[in-house]
Symmetry: D2
């Protein structure tokens, strides 16, 4: 089959690789119908993380079930599906406790180990637990993000404990940040401020219901305070993952408030303002999301037209044009926010 392979910093190539096969009775093989390029893929593409070359990249996907192992009971060939980025077992301690992001038998792919989803076919472990059927009325493009970035954004909002009437500051309006803002609005806040410095992203944030705040042009802290009688945001969602954005989170949050961070944080340490946090009684939550918990309710919202996740898709290209797609995404060309590859 054809697949996108990483060939070094700034270089991906579509090459012929072996088709995946059922390895365990709980596996399924999907014919991939859409594969996203994710910010995490850029860590490898940029060379920031070195995981060798030659492997198939990608972890955001939808597909049609092609074949199932003997113990798969919930799916059959022909089913249209979306799935969690890293297959989870469903039976370990963490899966039983609704914390599948910590699954102790997780089988990730597309991160330098098992072959990823930017390819014609994909092997998915623990298919019964990892996959979710796409409702008939939804397209693959509408469904794809619930397996990763929509669930991640939703997780930020969910963990933030937003209450009706709250003021939420969302830092970062990239794909995950946009879904964090959209998700925040599901909890009845009075205001969601989308804080970023890229005009295209802010325009999209506004279109998706947030109040845009261009931190390159105005004092974002002052805007937060203006909406909160000077107190600061009840909940801050952080979707960038850099020391500067985390510092901003502490500046924006009110005493007694919550910072919920889902930006991929690559540095080992962060200079946490502990004494300040102690005096102001803060809660700080950070981590990867249990997409398993969120896929079904989010698909229901999309089906009912409550959220339109396709607004973030600025580019769709054939799998064969992966090299161009990565270039566009990495360099934010043409106002690019999110790219899908279509095998």
């Amino acid at each position: 089959m054809k697949a996108v392979t990483l060939q070094g910093p700034g270089k991906v190539e579509v090459r012929e690789v072996p088709d995946p096969a059922i390895l365990k009775p709980t596996d399924a093989i999907l014919r991939v119908t859409a594969a996203g390029i994710c910010g995490s893929d850029l860590h490898y593409y940029s060379g920031r993380i070195d995981a060798g070359t030659g492997w198939v990249i990608g972890h955001e996907y939808t597909g049609i079930v092609e074949e199932v192992g003997s113990q798969v009971t919930q799916f059959k060939p022909g089913d249209r599906v979306v799935g969690v980025i890293s297959p989870v077992c469903g039976t370990c301690y963490y899966c039983r406790n609704q914390q599948s992001a910590q699954c102790s038998r997780k089988e990730p792919f597309g991160f330098g180990g098992d072959p990823g989803c930017q390819a014609d076919y994909l092997r998915v472990a623990y298919a019964d637990v990892t996959l979710e059927k796409i409702p008939d009325s939804l397209s693959f493009e509408q469904a794809i993000f619930v397996g990763d970035i929509f669930s991640t954004g939703f997780h930020a909002a969910h963990e933030g404990g937003i209450k009706v009437g709250d003021v939420v500051a969302a830092i970062g309006a990239g794909p995950v940040g946009l879904f964090a803002q959209v998700s925040a609005q599901l909890f009845g806040p009075a205001v969601v401020l989308a804080i970023d410095s890229v005009p295209e992203r802010l325009a999209l944030a506004e279109k998706m219901g947030a109040i845009p705040v261009n931190m390159a042009q105005e004092d974002a802290l002052a805007r937060v305070q203006k909406h909160t009688e000077g107190r600061g945001a009840d909940v801050v969602l952080e979707a960038v993952g850099l020391p500067g954005s985390i510092n901003d989170a502490f500046r924006y949050v009110r005493p007694g408030g919550v910072i919920s961070s889902v930006g991929v944080y690559a540095e080992t340490e962060f200079a946490f303002p502990m004494n300040d946090a102690f005096g102001r009684s803060l809660t700080f939550k950070i981590g990867v999301c249990p997409a398993r918990n969120y896929m079904k309710p989010l698909l229901s919202l999309i089906e009912q037209g409550r959220v339109d996740p396709t607004l973030v898709i600025t580019h769709q290209l054939p799998l064969a044009e992966a090299a161009r797609a990565y270039d566009i995404f990495a360099s934010h060309k043409d106002g690019c926010i999110k790219v899908l590859l279509k095998p």
Copy 2:
């Protein structure tokens, strides 16, 4: 001053009555700027409940502070305010536990005892706790309902424990029911079904974001099941208060679901389907709302344009025309949903 007095079944008259005065150091006197006619007022107007005649009716109000007692610290003359229907003390066991609806020193007015708010002036006990300032950007009409029917509708939704992606069935699209539906949408449900048989109410429910279901024309249960793969609603909000509507709630709710009822239930008993509820593990919640908890967040939502409560106001009349106003409201004339009196 002028005030609306009950003079017998179907009869209210505007008469001259003594001005209210500060009786305790925690009181405030308001100049009333708007007073709603509530479904509860009709219990007396219709004669269904007999509380004598000659008293001043009404418990939904906004006003401007005219005078405050010596221990009132949060308000001063000139403040624009809205308040809880039955003043609450703020210091008893229930008030301290955020259950002010059960306040053990509650001082209701407009129910046959102390004089109500359909008048030029109103005495409010425990002013610091009972009142809330109206933001400058909001009109009295925008603010008035947070003291009673919006808070009551919100309470129904809040107690229902709605989760993102849920399907909510809301029984009754009168004023409280409409606010229950609007409030339900603050918790991120996939679907809110507004079930009623009055076309005008259903049209308004749709305008306010729900899916209208005319139970006189179609099988409401079938609609609920269609939206839930046959299971039934995750949460049912009941805002009618009649045995038939409560029975419907049990029919619509799914196993493991919640019924949250705020309809004023006047009968002593209800034939609760206990064995069925046991087998299906149901939660049933009923009661009056702690509006004290909800006024401030709801005002924030209104201020931000997230909810427009004035949509339910179909009629506004001068206080002097109270008799006509009651007639319109009681007989649902001219598509009447909610009437405000303006002193």
Copy 3:
């Protein structure tokens, strides 16, 4: 194999019946090591419910895995296990939402359909989901109740939403009631009142940490009020299931409080004091428990010595003496509270 069969009102007989066999690849066969006689079994034994004769009774069990189907991955022959009374699938809507009591593929046994557990061997469907390993340090007697009556009692307490410092009134000190009281104490209440009229039960309730209240000898409501400055209990746990005990629950509960009922309610209807409940803002919860959620944490508590569930076992008899065991249990002979049969 030998098994206890129902032979008519007041009559059970141990007879030879066919051994159970694996019917589906997710089944397991257990060699039964202990089987409880439950209050629910008495509905059939007494003739109150007629489900025919000749079938094998019983649904509380521990055992040693004898054989597993081809899709069972979590258990192997020799494993010591306890299990949920009605096997649950783990994959349906309800199971995924932690409400396995409502599992839509539930496969109960011992209720007049599939053969129950008061026998040498037992077939358990969905073994991976239904069973839980017994820690090495625990005996079968220590573990058996987490599959049914301990989980049911815990469910009552859990759903009651007990907060630290609360006063809890627990109605009924039979086996389920005792576990409700013990479970209530896990949530940090100030007081748990055990209300019953059988001295042996009350003595055991006291031994297990509650304050006994003999309602045959004193005014239980007065005791509740004495502990709550006259308000009533914050949470009432009801473990009897009769109209009188439910009525008592409404008398004991305070305004704004919660009634959590797990008594098996056999009547169709109950005259719910709706108007009173409305005025006092009550929550009423009733239903069967998702034991699947509770088995593991409860086993941990038992393992650490925090709870000793064997205190309720007053009698243990060989399976062969089932007739005598039923007689003792049904007629409360010898201070009988709970009987185990040992195959």
Copy 4:
């Protein structure tokens, strides 16, 4: 009156100072019956924090109401009371949201500004909100800690979100740590491990229900893992406030777990293991406690004999012997854990 005044590093003296007086109508004057010496007092005593000399120290107190201002309605002379360490207003945004630790009108005393409680008399602002009546059956010694260290320990446990069956690691068995451990047990954990290196403290921790772990003699991490099948603690309570103890908290906590810290953290920054926390999805909570919320339920528990807070009191001395008392407490003489001064 006599009062303990700070006179420089390592030096306190009992001197004659002016009696306090009612300054605002919401004040009360107490005759102090017991005053604790707290770890926070040592920051000044040791010279680690310099707030000048000559001022009256102390913030843990019980007393008898001597005089009340004209707007105090809940208390009268002769009432036996305990109170929050820093008086809170009850009406600001934070107080209304049950986050009184962040009260925007807080009036602390005994920290270098207003005169503290280690004195014959004490002025308490916002008396109606700040004070709580001591039940008749309780002594001052039994009640005093609910205003500060018991509430602080309880806050740690409460914020940790402990669930029934959890394993809790509590770091630090000083006065606050001991109350954190005792409080953790109110939430039904299977195990509470008390981790410290001082034998006397560990002995007391064991007496109060925890499993002592002497980190100077054994590998505390290994103990935590042994109790959790290698996963780590579900919840870690941190009551020391040093970088080393916070680092330990991250080592002990399991993926998906919670760290709840109430140790007074004096350094500005902490090197937070952000990348690790991201991968393991951790929650970190830190801050001062809203004792206002906890005093009443904790007093109920003490009244019922569920907790005996006097176990931590190792020394009681007359106010006149404050110098000796500080020396004993600061140097941990005679197995000193907690000292009360009696004016």
